[in-house]
Amino acid sequence: MTTEITTDVVVIGAGPCGLFAAFELGLLDLKCHFIDILDRPGGQCAELYPEKPIYDIPGFPVVTGQQLVDNLMAQIAPFAPEFHFNRMVNSIDKQEDGSFKLATDADEIFHTKVIVIAAGGGSFQPKRPPVDGIEQFENKSVFYSVRKMDDFRGQDVVIVGGGDSALDWTLNLQPIVRSLTLVHRRAVFKAAPASVNKMQELVGEGKINFLTGQIAKLDGENGQIDHVHLSTDAGDLSLPATRLLPFFGLTMKLGPVADWGLELNDNTIVVDTEKFETSVPGIFAIGDINSYPGKLKLILSGFHEAALMAQAAKAIVSPGERVVFQYTTSSTKLQKKLGVA
């Protein structure tokens, strides 16, 4: 069933810049909903480098990606933004009254006056191995995740990778497949030791195969693979296979943003530097995903962009209302909103 949600602002991307936007918008009484493809807030900070120290956040000589995200979540908590994780925006349609109808792949429709794209390098998508023609098999016989285990029942499955996803699915699928071969470029795994041990036991019992190598080529037709060619230290070999599961982690792709009719420049969204508005009035872009003369891809630039964007967003949501610029240090009104006065 379709869920319908009406709000002032939808922020696409819950990375640091998107999160801080909720603060600036909140001070102006604008209600935010977040949509993110990951399962938690933080974007790149949480997904790519949670433990890495960042040294160029003003006021923090050093802070890790995860600490920064945790702090931002605490900072925006008074405004109670709502989060919709594990989904992607499918379409954005501008309505006659200037508002937007935004649909996600989780069967939600958002009715919103303002959209803020804070999607960083784009959405995180499974990394596609560099194999010619792999696209034609995707979602038919090559999958980057297991959505329905039944799709693998009785199949000849090849799993590629040496991390937890590859190991976990090797163990989970083994009981229901016809055959299973795990392929990794080396005999070293970066996965839970218990899973690695269990996998090695299954290999010892002859229930699965393990090969060191990499995928070189896929054979098949009409979207159905029949052979996976591997290059290995011992030479090339060809495995009969009906399902392939490559697990190479995630990478960022611009994805559906490219289809929303916004002016783009080299995979970034062109904005002005007064409001950080895109070529479509009412749609803003902040953080790494935007570009303008002199742009620096720094988190601190995104924070600045969020503050200016919020003023422009307020003018759209509450037209004609006089906005008095206030400081959190002195304004009791703002302090009440933050729950400290």
Binding site: Y49, K127, P130, G163, R185, F248, T251, M252, L254, N267
Partner: protein, 106 residues
């Protein structure tokens, strides 16, 4: 110092490197086809290069952490390195490398 880079299309480029820069930063700064999405945090493998055989010994072997990251690309060879982990210095003046297919932008 100079770095000789062959891109994914087979075209050669002679890039001027600056002492102390990471080789990835030089390649990115010159606008070649390198995604380098984590920006040098050793958290992805999208600055993957193949080091010319003559330079392998000078550049040295990847660290364990770098090897782990190389698990996330499907085109690893014995001379694979992440270019964010090679520092520009006089020792690597003249370095020759080739951009891996997995380093390409979308």
């Amino acid at each position: 110092m100079i770095i000789h880079v062959t891109d994914q299309e087979g075209e050669s480029h002679e890039l001027e490197g600056l002492e102390g820069w990471r080789v990835m930063e030089v390649i990115r700064d010159w606008g070649l086809n390198i995604k380098a999405e984590c920006g040098g945090a050793l958290s992805c493998a999208t600055c993957h290069v193949y080091v010319d055989k003559d330079w392998l010994e000078i550049v040295g072997a990847p660290s364990d952490e770098e090897e782990d990251m190389l698990d996330s690309v499907g085109d690893v060879r014995s001379n694979s390195r992440l270019s964010c982990q090679i520092l520009c210095s006089d020792a690597v003046d003249g370095l020759k490398l080739t951009l891996a297919p997995s380093a390409a932008k979308d």
